[in-house]
């Protein structure tokens, strides 16, 4: 008899839109066992090729079926340092689950029948966390004099630091903000990635001897050259892509038009949803529009809903996207969560101009209707604006989630660091070394906006290269 996929428990919609607590509960042991038992243990598993870091998925799921959760955890840890994080934020439906043999051929993303690999990964990761299974590392004497400066404490920086520290290198992580975690802290809301998960991973690194230096903007407080002069023999740049893109339309600088980064940073990093206990304010509106179709747009929309709920306003948040549902790059799960919570969608709409209200902030958004043409370089059908199709939407608060570009502060202060047309750092793909000898880079600063797991893959490669050459 065919086994049905095991549904994961989620916080009830009416409760969760009023708080920032985690929405997905995760599998219980019994649920994990049932889901793991659905895995066909294919002779030639496709799922592994769908994982950007090549986790032995077949093997870790097998360990779960044998109730050997410890081995499941360490199997994942062999390739991925942060299973609890990736099990929560990885876009599995575009990666391993899409490759799973149970996904119907030709589907744009994973079928529901595919194994819930991400939930099993999360289960294993959380098991490791609860049982303090963090790998102690095998410190090697030859690395005891290796001092590495890691710039940025996001996914790439954390991963690289962990890899190096486990081998005995002395690692200092420099973070410009007052809290560590990078985009995992300021960008991803706690209802998707709770802070205790992130804090646990950071504490593990501290126990390994990694030293975190916050409030330190490399490039301004110290240059690359000066870091070398301080005695670091290698530097890893995990600067991230944090510069928000705007739309370039009229009225875009009106008050109450936010970049997603600003909106999310105020709420996540600065806890603006607890104003005035926390002193950073954030505004919310009656008619909130979110521009974009990626994960950041979904996060912003769900944050906006929660702020409306907390303020006692009617839930009225609409995502504006120029293509249709199927082309949205966001995780299917997050689109679904957003829908369940009450986020509305306006597809085939292209913002044209923001109109000011009587109060001096944004009041309306004029959009053009679009239709889909032939596929573009991204493989998705290109939106084409229909002339004369303008329509108006009420909008007293808007969040623009139209993509992010590479952080520029350090790059501008380091002319010898070669960058490409997108201002991303150019590296040798073999070892992630930049145009400056001894300076490596990984994560979004190299590939542009990517996933947490891709950033970790690059960071790991860089760490290996650093160790090989030391």
């Amino acid at each position: 008899m065919k086994k049905e996929p095991v549904k994961v428990k989620e916080a009830p919609v009416e409760i969760r839109v009023g708080n920032f607590e985690e929405v997905v509960a995760g599998y219980s042991e019994q649920e994990a066992l049932r889901e793991a038992s659905r895995c066909l243990q294919c002779k030639n598993p496709f799922c592994i090729s769908g994982c950007p870091v090549g986790i032995d998925i077949k093997k870790f799921i097998y360990h779960i079926t044998q109730k050997d959760y410890r081995s499941a955890y360490f199997t994942i840890r062999g390739k991925n340092n942060f299973p609890s994080i990736c099990g929560r934020v990885c876009p599995a439906e575009y990666q391993c689950r899409k490759a799973c043999v149970l996904t119907a051929k030709g589907e744009p993303f994973a079928s529901d029948e595919s194994i819930n690999i991400h939930l099993l990964e999360r289960f294993s990761g959380d098991y490791g966390k609860e049982n303090n299974l963090d790998t102690p590392g095998q410190k090697e004497a030859k690395f005891s004099n290796l001092r590495v400066a890691v710039v940025g404490s996001g996914p790439a920086g954390l991963c690289c630091a962990g890899e190096l520290a486990r081998k005995g290198a002395k690692v200092d992580i420099f973070e410009s903000l007052h809290k560590t975690g990078g985009v995992l802290r300021y960008g991803i809301p706690p209802f998707r990635l709770p802070w205790d998960i992130l804090d646990f991973e950071i504490n593990c690194l501290k126990k390994l001897g990694v030293n975190f230096i916050t409030n330190f903007l490399v490039g301004k407080a110290m240059t690359i050259k000066e870091l070398f002069a301080q005695g670091y023999s290698r530097i890893f740049l995990g600067l991230g892509a944090g510069v928000p893109s705007f739309l370039g339309v009229k009225g875009e600088n009106l008050a109450n038009i936010y970049s997603a980064n600003e909106f999310l940073t105020r709420v996540n990093l600065m806890s603006a949803y607890k104003f005035p206990e926390f002193h950073t304010p954030v505004n919310i509106g009656k008619d909130v529009l979110i521009i974009g179709g990626g994960n950041t747009a979904m996060d912003a929309a769900r944050v906006a809903l929660r702020l409306q709920k907390i303020k006692g306003l009617a839930l009225n948040t609409t995502v504006i996207y120029r293509r249709t549902d199927i082309e949205m790059p966001a995780r299917r799960m997050e689109i679904e969560h957003a829908r369940q919570e009450g986020v509305k969608f306006e597809f085939l709409a292209q913002p044209k101009e923001f109109i000011e209200s009587d109060q001096g902030g944004v009041g309306k958004l004029i959009c053009l209707r679009s239709k889909l043409g032939k596929p573009d370089s991204s493989g998705r059908r290109r939106p084409i604006n229909i002339e004369g199709s303008e329509f108006e939407l009420n909008c007293d608060l808007c969040v623009i989630a139209a993509g992010l570009k590479a952080n520029q502060v350090l790059i501008k202060e380091t002319p010898e660091l070669k960058t490409d047309a997108n201002s991303d750092v150019i590296v040798n793909p073999e070892n992630m070394e930049s145009s400056i000898k001894g300076v490596y880079a990984g994560g979004d600063i190299v590939g542009g906006e990517g996933t947490v797991i891709e950033a970790m893959g690059m960071a790991k490669k860089a760490a290996c290269a650093i160790l090989d050459n030391s």
């Binding site: 936010y258 970049s259 600003e262 940073t265 005035p276 002193h279």
Partner: protein
Amino acid sequence: MKILSKEVIANYAGARIIKLSVFAPEISLKARAGNFVVVMVNEKGERIPLTIVDADSKAGSITLIFQEAGLTTRILGALDAGDKLYALSGPLGHATEIKNYGKVILVGGGVGIAEILPVARALKEAGLPAGQAGNHITAILGSRNKGMLILEAELKSASDQLYIMTDDGSYGLRGFTTDILKELLSKDKYDLIYSVGPIPMMKKVTEIAAEYKVKTLVSLNALMVDATGMCGCCRVSIFGEVKFSCVDGPEFDGSGVDWAELEKRNKAYSIQEKHICNLSRYIKP
């Protein structure tokens, strides 16, 4: 991040301007005129930008000057020597381009006077080539009244000419900084104007300077969050182009600034500010 010393440099009818010296060795080494820092007073605090007024790399300290206005500056004002700031990051923003311009007028209004001081000092010392005198500095200081005037002695020694204007005539000349600016420009030729203060003042200074075709640099006080180019809260329109004050500024050519837009963006949280200021009376003075 430890506060080394604290001095109330103006105190008039409950309004205070405070000078703090803060231990920040790395920042003190790098700070240049025009740079700023981001400060958090405690773990629940806002991130606010403050200009680095002075830096002493030997003592490892920087000087910050602010007027108590909102909650954050009131909490900051209630701290004493020995207390620690929760977060301090910098130096941020572009430094002022220091070179020999010739004759320069610096216009500071209110607590903006503190922000023109490091620029006045740097420009005065900019003697090119060696042995020659630096820029000829005229400083115009504007204040509500005598009690709120700050840094008169410091700017006197950093300038060749000093004018003081008060709104009520209680000290110096009665009137606005722009009155004397107009007079100076009509009589003599100047090469650069540098202005920091309330938006209406900077706007007026720029307009007057434009009549006399003198370039004006202004340092904008846009709201910020991360202040490292990641949020766009501080975005301003300069000659129709979007710039981030934190990483592209905070100094811009005043003639390109969309002042109305900046004023509106800066008022985005006026309701919350009012609310939270009501709470701030619970802070110990």
